[in-house]
Symmetry: C2
């Protein structure tokens, strides 16, 4: 599978790219606003990783991962929309503002960032991996599950398969794309937990067969 | 500790009351709109449980648990506010509506149910246990953690101690009361997961020391 990571030189994107290169089997394309920085990052990663400007990185990809920070996510999605076409796009960022360490969705209509990304690209958007810290991806497969949601079954299945390889736990189908409202909001809780316990917390879903 | 469970004859309230009676050590007071139904439920529970009308149940309690369904939570909180005084109140319900199986907070200002409950009672409100299914409380201590949030440290500590006894996992401090927005939203995700996997899912927080 050819996987383009937009914002692949950022902390989460780079950790994700590194993990995918380690796992092997996929062609990892690091995307960045700056093609040279992408190329340098890809060279460091090795494993046949490529580095390109974001809009070029998605060309021919089976899956693109929008790993830029929340404040740049919509601009990057708009920037790559034409070259992305109908390729599935995984949204991992959270648009919450923090007020006294607690998140509130900033959008007055209550949409998640992932739903707003869906408004600017034509391919199916899947959301997930919100509860996985970059620091945990740096280690061996982290002891946590990956929650994934989306409206397009095939795109969601693709991401579930990928997510299941990233974590020691399982990839859990959390329902339609609108579930991203809850998954993104949960990031604030995890930040609170991390502060309180000086941890990089993750989640496991218990009680599944 | 004397614990009043408002809505203690409902499915979650009754499961919680049953678990607390089993654990022993606390005096459990089942509250209901209907004092006779409360008394009948308490008699079935045994273990010295008492049954009273909601407003009477909270008198002398060290902790009250608002275990009525979301649509009755604010009315019940208003009804007991005077007799509750400064006693801590634990809010466990979720005010989310479901749209195609996915939750959206109904309140235009984005407050959680727990924060709205805090607007009608004078004692400290703590929120938690949202991710614990009544069905899981019926078993032995369920394999999950209990997430708890609140602004009053002493009240939160009291609930964390109680919550830690209910689950096989741990009670996790999820930050200030506003974290209830995320914890309540998460209920929709758990409902989606339960449908998809025919499960009674719970959560574990990993990565804590």
């Amino acid at each position: 599978m050819r996987i383009a990571i937009l914002g692949g030189t950022g902390s989460f994107g780079r950790a994700l790219a590194g993990r995918l290169v380690e796992l092997g089997g996929d062609v990892v394309v690091v995307g960045s606003r700056d093609a040279e920085r992408a190329a340098a990052c890809a060279a460091e990663l090795g494993g046949g990783a490529e580095g390109k400007a974001n809009a070029d990185a998605v060309v021919g990809a089976d899956l693109a991962i929008l790993a830029v920070k929340a404040d740049g996510a919509l601009d990057t999605a708009r920037e790559v929309a034409a070259s992305l076409g109908d390729t599935p796009l995984l949204s991992v960022a959270t648009a919450i503002r923090f007020e006294k360490g607690v998140g509130a969705l900033p959008d007055p209509d209550g949409l998640s960032l992932a739903e707003r990304v869906q408004q600017v690209v034509s391919g199916p958007v899947v959301a997930g991996l919100h509860s996985i810290a970059a620091a945990n991806l740096d280690e061996a497969a982290p002891d946590e599950d990956a929650l994934v949601c989306g409206d397009d079954p095939a795109a969601k299945e693709l991401v579930l398969e990928l997510a299941g390889r990233l974590v020691a736990g399982r990839a859990v189908d959390a329902g339609p794309l609108a579930s991203a409202r809850a998954l993104e909001g949960l990031t604030a809780v995890i930040v609170n937990v991390n502060r309180r316990y000086k941890a990089h917390a993750g989640l496991r879903v218990t009680g599944l067969a």
